[in-house]
C-alpha cells in the first residue's frame, strides 16, 4: 500500500516534468487554484470538456483537408478556436502547434497544414494521457487521505 506522502511526491515529480516538457504551463496551475469545496470537480470537468471538444475539432479539421478544395478561412477559424481552448487549459505544446498551423493556413501551405494537423493529433493524444495519469494520481492521493500538492 503506497502512502499518501509517496504518492504526493510522485505527483509533484510528475507535474514538474510535465511543466518542463511543456505539456502544461502556469495557466493549469491557475485553474487548479480556482478549484475549491464549492466546485471540487471543476478541473476534471473542464479537462473532460476540453478533451471532447478537441476530438471534435480534430475530426472537423481532418474532414476539411479531405475536401477537393481546402477552405483555409474555415480551417483557420477552427484552429484559432483550438488554440484558444488549449491556451485556456494550459496545454502549451498543443497551443504552439496551433500557432504554427494558423500561419500555414495564412500561407495556404497544404503540406505545412497537413504536418500541423498530424502534430496536433499527436499532441492531443499525448496531453490526453498526461491528464488521465495526473487525475488518476490525484484520486489515489485523496483516497490515501492526503491532499494534492500545488505547483509553486
Amino acid at each position: 500500500m503506497v502512502s499518501a506522502t509517496q504518492l504526493q511526491r510522485q505527483y509533484a515529480e510528475y507535474t514538474t516534468s510535465l511543466y518542463h516538457e511543456g505539456y502544461l504551463n502556469d495557466q493549469f496551475t491557475q485553474l487548479q487554484k480556482l478549484q475549491d469545496e464549492s466546485d471540487p470537480d471543476f478541473l476534471v470537468g473542464l479537462v473532460s470538456v476540453f478533451i471532447d471538444d478537441s476530438k471534435k475539432l480534430l475530426d472537423t479539421l481532418t474532414t476539411a483537408f479531405q475536401q477537393k478544395t481546402v477552405d483555409y478561412k474555415q480551417v483557420s477559424l477552427h484552429v484559432h478556436r483550438f488554440k484558444g481552448s488549449s491556451s485556456n487549459i494550459g496545454a502549451q505544446r498543443l497551443m504552439r502547434v496551433c500557432v504554427l498551423f494558423i500561419n500555414y493556413c495564412k500561407e495556404k501551405n497544404l503540406d505545412g497544414c497537413l504536418w500541423c494537423l498530424q502534430q496536433a493529433n499527436h499532441e492531443y493524444i499525448l496531453v490526453r494521457s498526461k491528464f488521465k495519469a495526473l487525475f488518476k494520481l490525484e484520486k489515489q492521493i485523496l483516497k490515501a487521505g492526503g491532499s494534492i500538492p500545488m505547483m509553486e
Binding site: F42, L46, V49, L77, H80, R81, S87, N88
Partner: protein, 181 residues
Amino acid sequence: METMNIACDQLRSANSKELHVLAVDDSNIDRKVIERLLKVSSFKVTVVDSGSRALQYLGLEDDKNSAQFDDLKVNLIMTDYSMPGMTGFELLKKIKNSSTLREIPVVIMSSENILTRIDRCLEEGAEDYLLKPVKLSDVRRLKDSILKSEGDDEFRQIESQKRKRNDDRSPQKPTPKLARL
C-alpha cells in the same frame, strides 16, 4: 431627508450586494473558465454563447423596458472579441449606441495582442481589453474599478440631490438611477 437615508443604505449595500456579470463567448471551455473566475470573485454570473443572445438577455432585441428586470440588472459585460456572427466589437457598438444599455461597462477579451484592435475597442467605449487567458488578478482589478465607479455614481447623485434640495427646497422624488440598486 428620507431620500438621503435611502441613498446611503443603497450605497452601503452596493458593496455587499453581488455584482452581476454577463459573459459572452462562443467557446465552451472559455465560458467555463470565465464563469469560474467570476464566481470565485463573488460575482453573480450569466453566460451566453453569442452576441445576439447577449442582446436578447439584455432586453435590447425585445424592446423591453429594462426596469422590469431589476433582478437581472447587469453591472458588467465581458465579451470575447472573435466570435462568429456578431463579433465582440459589434456587440460593444450596439450596447454603447443604446440609450438603455450604454452605461453598462463592457470589457473585451481576446487572445490577440493587436494594438490597433485594442485602440479601436477603447475608442468605442470599452472599459478594458483583457488578454486571454484571463487571470484571477484581472477579474479582481475589474471588480475594484466597477465597485469604485458605482460608488462614485451614487456619491455624485447624493451630492446633486443635496444641491437640488438646497436650491428649491421642494420634496424630492428618488431618481431612477438610485432605484437601480
